[in-house]
Symmetry: C2
Subunit: 291 residues, 2 copies
């Protein structure tokens, strides 16, 4: 298939590579960086030109304004969209703006899926991403063979566009609060004189067990804060969740508090740390470091 | 072995039963309730009389003041302690008071382990409790055959008394915040129009995976709030953690917020609900129910 792929960053590049290996032909546009080494793709001048050459256009961009610009801009995807083409936005962006982008895509004669992912760079390289999709059954069926090339745990969460983004934000809420949970528990135990590594092991068999206790707990104890997933990106995702919550008229007190701890990390120069670096904000509040 | 067991409640009764089945002879004292049906135990008049008849005295009581009364009271355990006898406190109580109780036990010629458990009534019945122990290697070795009759995942967390209690509170911090995490995520997704059951399933394969997402997430969706573990007990445990944190001079912002949400549940009549009922406080803050 002729696929447009816009956003060949740390996530996009390995995802695109899997599509090429599965036999698809890629068309892309370059923004800041050159074409990733070894990736076979035709480079054209604009998102519009990408769309003009593609049956499916995949976006993997940093934030909501990037998607708005690439999709709706003067030389944007919608300006060159083929009739019936499918836009798949795999970025993590606002669920509310997503509904607007889907509307505009349909008005331009195309179809739209929001399909954000989790699993990070490791999952992108191993083609084991979790993919959370919002859109119609028919569009999902059309995209499924492509998703299966990039990921493993693939769910159509809801038929309304934005459902995939909502599910991704739910994921980010849980991961952030689970990181805070493990960080508070380990700093508490360590300040009381216990070995945090023994505490982590003791807790892994019971109701406190989680992927975060396993992976991020170990990182906190080992002081291994190279990303992984950057605090500044998680901070952005929690802001999206809080913005959406405000628009919907609901309160997320724990999410707000975790987002503030991430902001404290950013203030202390930790924006590029792995999100397990959240523990440093709590160490600051305890006058005590785990490591 | 001749074992004193004080506190034959929903947890203590099945734990004591396992000790009898393993061939030990039990001595106990009754407070409010009669002897649990089918349990073979000699009943004496006071904690002192229990201690006078026992090589090991196990306590499984609701809260710190109960342990203080049973241990230090006029007709308490320490008043009748045999030379070299071992006191094992399996209640969940203050790590700071635990150090004081251990001191008093040693002054009375005995040895002391704090050994709180997690795994709930189900774990107590199935003899699969997680047991977190504070005390010396020698005392731990002496108690291990008894622990193995009641539990599975048994860890000597630290050689100072209180280490087991600290580890248990770390467990309660993580479980509470993981419950809040899942509750905020599912209420958020549901309010945005997604099916929370689909969202839960989509998230189970990734970094959001946890025992709480599995067990308590399902309870929230199914509106199954019969305990399980009661909110009022978890509220007490978080209060112990916050008290200890204050004494140590550190802040636990997420734990404090989760404790306040549990207080809101209690205020709304939910004290006896399972702790997954925390979701109701968040539903109140969202003007939207999952179920």
């Amino acid at each position: 298939m002729q696929i447009g792929f816009i956003g060949l960053g740390v996530m996009g590049a390995p995802m695109a590579e899997h599509l090429v290996q599965a036999g698809h032909r890629l068309v892309t546009v370059l923004n800041r960086a050159p074409l990733p080494e070894g990736l076979a793709a035709q480079v054209v001048a604009s998102p519009r030109a990408v769309a003009e050459a593609s049956e499916v256009v995949i976006l993997m961009l940093p934030d909501t304004p990037d998607v708005a610009r690439v999709l709706l801009g003067e030389a944007g995807v919608l300006a060159g969209l083929r009739p019936g083409a499918l836009v798949i936005d795999m970025s993590t962006i606002s669920p509310i703006e997503t509904a607007r982008f889907a509307e505009a895509t349909r008005a331009a004669g195309g179809a739209y899926l929001d399909a954000p992912v989790s699993g990070g760079q490791v999952g992108a390289k191993a083609a084991t991403l979790t993919i959370m999709v919002g859109g119609t059954e028919a569009d999902f069926a059309r995209a499924l063979p492509l998703f299966e090339v990039m990921g493993k745990n693939i769910t159509l969460v809801g038929e309304a566009n934005g459902a995939g983004q909502t599910c991704k934000l739910a994921n980010q809420i849980i991961v952030a609060l689970n990181i805070e949970a493990v960080a508070e528990a380990l700093v508490f135990a360590s300040k009381a004189g216990c070995d945090p590594a023994k505490v982590r092991t003791a807790l892994m068999g019971g109701f406190a067990a989680s992927r975060v206790l396993e992976v991020h707990g170990e990182r906190m104890i080992a002081r291994s804060f190279a990303p992984g997933f950057r605090i500044k990106l998680h901070q952005k995702d929690l802001s999206l969740a809080l913005d959406s919550a405000r628009v919907m008229g609901m309160a997320l007190p724990g999410t707000a508090s975790a987002q503030q701890l991430m902001s404290a990390c950013v203030a202390q120069g930790g924006a590029e740390d792995d999100h397990s670096g959240l523990v440093r904000a709590l160490e600051g509040l305890a006058g005590h470091s785990l490591g």
